[in-house]
Amino acid sequence: MNLSPSQSILRAIPVARAIARLLLASAGGYAFAVAVAYVVARGLPMERAEATVVASLAAILAMPAAAIWAYGVPRLWHAAAGILGATAICAAIAWSIGQPV
């Protein structure tokens, strides 16, 4: 079967979209969890060993939440914007607080 270049690109799009969603849910979900871990660890007004534990526990719940959200949102770019945006915001807040000394 011979496909013209434009046809084969159209065929490849669903595959690319599926891969993009998978990456968003897995790598994106983990990145979001890491950002949550950072912001909670630094942002909670507690002894830092305590805040670290809360942060890690929150992070492992953030990952499945992000993964489900990545698959639940109908539009791919909404999912991408949401996960990457939330990750960036958490990361920015964590960075602005800085490592406690």
């Binding site: 660890a41 890690s56 492992i60 109908p74």
Partner: protein
């Protein structure tokens, strides 16, 4: 829009469940068996009949280790209790294949040679989260499987329209509909357990998979992070100057006074035989929900108390309780059986889900569905066959065989591999039936073989109050019955299924 959401969740549920589903089944079943880790260890060491109080057993273990493994960097001991007679000892040993040894010591003599060489229940425990892979890859794979299971459970709840009603719905003999009903009943009935065990399972590997909270607050300074997260633990480098270890008995007695009602649980001895030796005694995990709640540390040479610690910080305690919930060590007899039954329900939920995936795609072309249908048999029937092979090897391998403990593990993997290979060669319908028939026969015959070889069997166990052997044999017979029932039904076509038991039984 709402329909679309539910549909995408249905897709997420079936794919997240499938992708590591076979591995998950093995993880869940080995974890379920691990609920009875102590009892399995006891059954696999039938030579151990004498018991000793925990402090005497620890003293004996320290004596034996001091003679035979004085150069280890640390000895980590778990004291015997009412569930297990032996002291479990873990220590580094360059001569061991894995670089460390995990052995059971006789409570009276402290020697590992009283009982046959076996890993006992420790093998299933380790397999549950390390999957016999090198560190840390097995743990990473296990936690990835757990995360996928968590996603599958949550998306499963979302796609479920009528959680409560489904508890009471089972329509037998209706093909795919029955599989779906079974999947729903098993999943929903113990749903709180399934969620709890999955989340807490991830929690047990928290520091490995989610170290970023620590990095955020401590950077590279892991020593400070560790000191602040576990202030009860004293750690110091070996001095390099030999010094004899003080008698352990008085230290255990002092720890016992500190614990009050609580029992002695774990005893770790760092730098034994060195001037900087440290002895840390933790209270028994079975005494409270939290894991490792209280510790007393001693200077190993003088026997003087260095530190006493009771964890009371709320977040650390929460973590410790979540950890303890997964380990289930706190659970007394009845709740231990509930853990076991809920674990079986989770394994069965996974198994029925895997079958459903195939049933929903009966005409799907390609190698994927072909392989999936066969892997189902290889995993669901093959893994219990492998556990059974491990138990058989324990009874049948020669006592003095070199590498005997590893031989039992080899038997486990050979049996699993053989079951998968067998599933590849047969049609799935036949393979289901034959594999479960093997499982039924194997389970039923094991107590008889064990009686012939050890003289400890069901009748004299029941008569003599030997609840360990009685319980083990009765459980095997129950599994034999279950496997036989599955084998009988697995081969039938939908039309041949008896309509419903109850309707047949009523004619009188």
């Amino acid at each position: 829009m709402k329909q679309g959401f539910r549909q995408s969740m249905a897709g997420l549920h079936s794919w997240s469940g499938l992708i590591l589903g076979w591995l998950l089944f093995a993880i869940v079943l080995s974890g379920t068996a691990t609920v009875f880790r102590s009892e399995i260890s006891g059954w696999m060491r039938p030579e151990i009949v004498k018991t000793a109080p925990p402090d005497a057993a620890i003293e004996a273990a320290v004596r034996w280790l001091g003679t035979h493994h004085p150069k280890a960097a640390g000895w980590y001991l778990s004291a015997p209790d009412e569930r297990i007679a032996t002291t479990q000892a873990v220590f580094d040993d360059p001569a061991a294949p894995l670089g460390y040894r995990d052995i059971a010591l006789d409570p009276v003599s402290g020697s590992p040679d009283v009982a046959r060489a076996t890993l006992g229940g420790e093998f299933l425990y380790r397999f549950h989260f390390e999957l016999q892979l090198p560190y840390p890859w097995g743990r990473f794979l296990a936690v990835a499987a757990a995360m996928l299971m968590l996603i599958a459970i949550i998306s499963g709840i979302i796609i479920h329209k009528r959680i409560f009603k489904d508890i009471f719905t089972f329509r037998a003999g209706k093909g795919k509909r029955s599989w779906l009903d079974a999947h729903n009943v098993l999943g929903v009935l113990a749903l709180p357990f399934h969620l709890m065990i999955t989340v807490t399972g991830i929690v047990t590997l928290l520091t490995l998979v989610m170290p970023w909270g620590t990095t955020a607050n401590y950077g590279d300074d892991l020593a400070t992070a560790f000191a602040e997260s576990a202030p009860g633990l004293v750690s110091r480098e070996a001095a390099g100057r030999p010094a004899p270890l003080a008698p352990i008995g008085p230290m255990l007695a002092a720890a016992q006074r500190a614990f009050g009602e609580g029992r002695i649980g774990r005893v770790s001895i760092a730098n034994p035989g060195d001037a900087n030796a440290i002895v840390t005694v933790s209270n028994h995990d079975g005494d409270q929900l939290a894991y490792a709640a209280r510790t007393v540390s001693f200077d190993g040479v003088t026997g003087r108390i260095l530190k006493q610690y009771v964890e009371a910080r709320p977040a650390q305690q929460t973590y410790s309780v979540l950890y303890g919930l997964h380990m289930g060590r706190f659970a007394p007899e009845v709740s231990r059986w509930l853990y076991f039954l809920c674990g079986l329900a989770l394994a069965a939920t996974i198994a029925t889900g895997l079958v459903l995936w195939i049933r929903s795609r009966p005409q799907a072309p390609g190698v994927g569905p072909w392989l999936a249908a066969r892997l189902n048999v290889g995993a669901v029937a093959g893994f219990p066959v492998a556990i059974l092979a491990f138990f058989y090897a324990n009874r049948l391998l020669p006592m003095q065989m070199p590498g005997r403990a590893e031989g039992e593990v080899s038997a486990f993997f050979w049996a699993w591999g053989a079951a998968i290979a067998f599933a590849m060669l047969r049609s799935p319908t036949r393979a289901w039936r034959e594999a479960f028939a093997v499982l039924a026969l194997g389970s039923a015959a094991l107590p008889i073989l064990s009686f012939a070889l050890t003289g400890r069997g069901l009748w004299n166990a029941l008569a003599g109050g030997d609840w360990l052997f009685a319980g083990f044999d009765l459980t095997l017979f129950a599994f034999a019955g279950l496997a036989a029932a599955i084998a009988r039904r697995a081969g039938m076509k939908v039309a041949e299924m008896p309509p419903r038991r109850r309707r047949q039984a009523v004619p009188a």
